[in-house]
Amino acid sequence: MTKPRTEGANLPADKLAELYRTMRLIRDFEESMIKFQKAGELPGPVHLCIGQEAVATGICDHLDDTDYIASTHRGHGHFIAKGGDPALMMAEVFGRVDGICQGKGGSMHAADFSKGILGANGIVAGGVGLATGAAYACQLAGKGQVSVVFFGDGAAAQGVISEALNVASLWKLPLLLVCENNGYSEFSPYNTVNAGEIADRGAAFKVPSIQVDGNDMVTMWRTARTAVERARAGEGPTLIEAQTYRHRGHVEYEDTFLTKPYRSEEEVEAWKAKDPLPRFRDYLVSGELVPSEDLDAIDADTASIIRNAADFARNSPWPEPGDALKHMF
């Protein structure tokens, strides 16, 4: 595996602001979910990605609507970063008819095919096959599209990953395998469920593999760029292991059933100190790359987007019961 060095950014200010905006929007969406879940407004479970926003943002910034992503149960960030409408996802998580899946999927299945979002997934590593197949389609189409699969460190233990590494390498598919290593597979710490390092698993299949600080927005973005360019140029797949952390629990209601803690307060605090959002903000402001007023304006804007999304979701009606019978074929 290779490990990219953190470099000074020479990205234009508007690009930096855009990346900040995406992260902020994801964060606001997720924080609203905490509230709605507590208030009992969400019918089903939600898995939040607070603390991991830089990964989705850094990868998806290089993608167009004609590129594909397959996501996980922790998929809100990917959906938003790939250009999905937060209001449509919000209504979906509320189970309403104006949801992106008309209330049929919920958080774990939010998808927007018009944006190349093949969907969140309730099956760990379930997106791997989908994205690999989409990568095959991209290759057949010959237009330089790429396909990305996000998966967790827990998912890395699933055999389908090695199957995908093998076939993507042999076929030189335009596929990015992006592992968000947040240190836990549900409640199991990394080293109890993964032998060795995930980024080491690509080499044996001749897949270039990179281990990157997933909380470092700029490095993440650069790493993604290289991999996407490689894929678009027909040079094949890349495995990226982004090291990050989830601030929230595995699932929002976990306190109701866990009888003992599975990680220490200190560990959580230590990672919160590395929160990618304030870190990126500091970097932008202290480096005088984007004025803090601009970032404040973004904050205000994303907050209002999420407020509106929540209104939209809450005001959307429930689906018609009989619609349960539609959409099988």
Binding site: M108, G122, A157, Q158, G159, S185, E186, F257, P319, A324
Partner: protein, 326 residues
Amino acid sequence: MARKRLMHAIHEAFVEEMERDERVVIFGEDVEISLFGDTAGLADRFGQMRVRNTPICENVMTGMAAGAAAAGYRPVCHLMFGNFIYTGFDAIANQVSKLRYMTAGQIKLPLVYFAVYGGGRSASAQHSDVMYPALMNLGGIKVAVPGTPADAKGLLKSAIRDDSPVVFLITGGRTGAAGEVPDGEHLVPLGEADIKHEGTDVTLVAMSGMVAPALVAAQELAKEGVSVELVDPRCVVPLDEDAILRSVCKTGRLVIVDEARDMCSAASHISAIAADKAFESLKAPIRRVTVPDVAIPYAPVLEKHILPNKDTIAEAVRAVVNYRKQ
């Protein structure tokens, strides 16, 4: 006797069987911390060699259960949600269901696959399936589907002691109504139905999560003067055909409630058995109250629409009882 929640009854069964036989081991994702409470505290009590967290790897896990069983242990492979049975289906369908037969009975496979399944919790399509029809068609695998805490405890203990592979399925996670559970050793044999409500007008077969609404329906119908016999097979493999047929021959009418999708459901199969072997006695069409052939939706209003409930059950029973040959 004491009232206990289903998961509590399951937990007791695990403790008792692990105490009784040190060859009983449990492995699966996060069984140490325990999502549903069923395996909570077992690792502390029996050690991490016998209660062992696995990585997420259903393919090898399902096969490992077979290998460990073949090598003398009595593993419980905890698969968390029933849908993940599909993820590990290869070893279940291609190895476990056939190994004893292919080797002419050389080997016993005393193993249990454990999972929580079914809908009603807005857990969406990938966490709400009812997968016993696929398992029933494999042959070679017993399938227990208890509907009460007492049956859950008694069947799980029997499943762990059984020398054949058993898939043990329960609904509902930590919730689930409480019920009386006999104290001390309590075994329910695999493949023996239980009459949950006696009656003479119509046989209602219901299992697992459908027993409770079926019982309510039976009680409500009694007030209308309809006498329902509620038969709970408790296992779908082996299926207690005799008990079902006995009841149908008595009542002449049959309704089957099954949370599975309709096509090739347990309900279909039970209906087929009766249409063959109890034809003479039948006074009315056999009705199935099942889930339509769709995935399970997220929104509560949608999910509610497709899952059987006491009213749809009662309605089907009334239709059968009121049926008159045209």
